[in-house]
Symmetry: C2
Amino acid sequence: MIKIKLRQLLWDREVTATAVHQATGISQSILSDIVRGKRTNVGLDIINKLCVYLECDINEILEFIPE
Amino acid sequence: MIKIKLRQLLWDREVTATAVHQATGISQSILSDIVRGKRTNVGLDIINKLCVYLECDINEILEFIPE
DNA sequence: AATCTTTATCATTTCAACATTATAAACTCA
DNA sequence: TGAGTTTATAATGTTGAAATGATAAAGATT
């Protein structure tokens, strides 16, 4: 299972989902779903856009949790 | 840009794409495309299956390359 | 209270990811 | 050389990821 740690990351950096939406083009509704964990099978295109805008590495957004 | 380092990983571990296909259920043709870099926007479902089967972390499969 | 911003949610549509199947090509190895 | 395995490639169908737009709800600010 891969956890998307976007909520915490945005909170830490004091960045709103709206700001991410406007800067990256990722739709606001999709972002809301991702942040709330309602969408899990996200594509690398979106992960990439997040890494670019947030200037972070993949492991700051994703975490693999074996089970 | 996110690079998928699957070819090198499979080579290092001497695991065939066919073995991955059979163990994970990821289709053989898709796997071939991913390994050859013909498909880049892969979903986290597939990344997760790879991590599970190969018992590795995400960063062994993916690499974020800023540009 | 009224206004502004942000987030949640829903409905619709588009398009590509992925599965499936089949075949060809490449590569072992007896 | 021929059989067995692995990889490349193409065609097709399904499904869900993601965009768009719109509205409601929740938070902030004054």
